[in-house]
Amino acid sequence: MPRVVSFARLAFFGAASATGLWICWVGAGGEVSRKNPDSSRTQTAGQGSKREILQLPTVERSTASQPLTGLTSDTHLDMTPPRQTTGLDLVKLGWTYNCMECHKLLAAKWHYERPMVEHRSVRLEHGNNRFCLNCHHPVNRNAFVDYDGSEIPEPEVVLLCAKCHGTTYRDWNAGVHGRRNGHWNVSTGPQTQLRCIQCHDPHQPKFQAMKPLAPLRYPRRAPKPPPAVTPSHHGTAKS
């Protein structure tokens, strides 16, 4: 048995390295541009040079392919989507979005010991969930898994989240959780509503912190602006 496992491992690494080299070659050929060279997105700490070769370019999905928030006519308003999702790297390199294309080669397992090639940016920090198969369907990777092992199709991902987040799902359905934009009165125009994963990274669902926009200024005509930081706020200024 261990021999079989190590063989599978070797085979996998071989395939993965080949894919990686192919990707590098394509990249050098200029057919794929690195739109986002931000290396902080991929974890390189403690990894060898061989692994670096394996790094895949992360390419942001164009905003056009992002789901709509609100009305296109509101050009004066900041409609930045809450989460800039990055599509799968292989997909962007011309592979289809059919997960089974790869995964038919790779049997579902509860536990993977080694870092993967694709999905390396995935760090699972989502409550009690420790395994991919907590959410992903073990057989059909294009779907998610319901309580009874049945499939939840990808477009209905909200139902997956609803498995645990019932109250939130109820609120979302009522338009009270998450973003509902456009027309409040649907008889006058379109309304958009974002799904869970458009704001929350399902693997790290905590809403991302952000830089606040420019603060209020102390009025120009008033004397004596306040001390830069009020004493009570000193303690938490750094963190």
Partner: protein, 324 residues
């Protein structure tokens, strides 16, 4: 005690005691009156700087919004459009959008979700054509963002100027405050000329052409929701939102009070207000109270709602609620 001298009894007039008129006194009087006139003219000189068209008989005779005939109103709207084009080179459409029948608006804000990013306060400026010294000057924004210490709702410790690298900060929470469109609105009550009133859909509006600028409403507001145009609004033409309405976001004259109208030019057309549209977390909930299935009614039914300064008795249409 001194003896009071007789204060009456001498029918001799003071004029008799005065010197007879002479050339000298005449010259003196002329000089004095000329000096006086010159002084008066000098004192009034700054009035020359008044812009043409700022003080017109027509403007002085314009009636209160509620008393305008449709024709009058139409004419005024076109004039406002012309003024906007002339002054800023922006072709605006200034409309008068009447309240929708069967609509009563209310707003709810999820305090557990707000991260204090200030996008709402900035979007308010972009939507409502407020005066600003620079594009990121939110003094006139209708929304104030408060950073509060967890463990209390103590506005007195609020930080209005917080500017960390990232929000939300540890041990802090954030509270945006804007006009609560109170049912018992102190601001409309105190206005001596009824330049501000509550519309049938619950929105408190200001007729900028009727306001006398006494700022009594600002003193009366418990939510610091009103702003005053201390000067002629400063706004760059590029920043002007051309979709304007008479009672909300048209470019204001100086010397009048303005306030949040729940973006009535949007909401009365069925759209969400600008602050809600940009809120990244979806902490803002807006809806029609008269529609039982609306989001706002859902909040009121299912959430624990907190009313800011409930003790003041204003009965706001703005609610805060909590999660978890």
């Amino acid at each position: 005690m001194t003896n009071p001298p007789a204060n009456d009894g001498k029918p001799k007039t003071t004029e008799n005691a005065a010197q007879p008129r002479s050339r000298r006194t005449f010259l003196k009087a002329t000089a004095a009156s000329m000096a006086g006139a010159a002084g008066l003219a000098a004192a009034l000189k700054p009035l020359l700087a008044l812009e043409r068209g700022e003080l017109t008989i027509e403007a002085l005779l314009q009636k209160h919004y509620k008393r305008l005939t449709p024709e009058d109103l139409e004419r005024i709207l076109r004039k406002l459009e012309a003024a906007c084009e002339k002054e800023y080179g922006v072709r605006a459409s200034v409309r008068d959008i009447k309240p929708m029948a069967g609509a009563q608006y209310a707003y709810a804000l999820n305090l557990s979700r707000c991260i204090g990013c200030r996008k709402c306060a900035h979007a308010c400026l972009k939507e409502n054509n407020q005066s600003r010294d620079s594009e990121d000057d939110i003094e006139m924004s209708y929304i104030r963002l408060l950073e509060l210490d967890q463990g209390a709702i103590n506005l007195e410790t609020a930080d209005h100027y917080y500017n960390p690298e990232q929000v939300p900060r540890e041990n802090k929470y954030y509270m945006p405050v804007q006009c609560h469109q109170c049912r018992e609105s102190p601001c409309t009550k105190v206005c001596p000329v009824q330049a501000t009133w509550q519309e049938p859909d619950g929105v408190v509006v200001v007729d900028y052409n009727w306001c006398i600028g006494c700022r009594y409403c600002m003193a009366a507001c418990p939510y610091d929701a009103r702003r005053f145009n201390f000067q002629k609004p400063r706004i760059s033409p590029a920043a002007i939102n051309p979709d304007q309405s008479y009672l909300s976001n048209r470019v204001r004259p100086k010397g009048v009070v303005e306030k949040c109208t729940f973006c009535l030019h949007r909401t009365r057309q069925g759209k969400y207000p600008a602050c809600l549209e940009v809120c990244p977390t979806g902490a803002r909930v807006f809806g029609n109270l008269l529609e039982p299935s609306s989001e706002i009614n859902y909040v009121l039914r299912h959430k624990r709602v907190y009313i800011l300064k409930e003790d003041v008795g204003t009965k706001p249409r703005f609610y805060y609620f909590f999660e978890k």
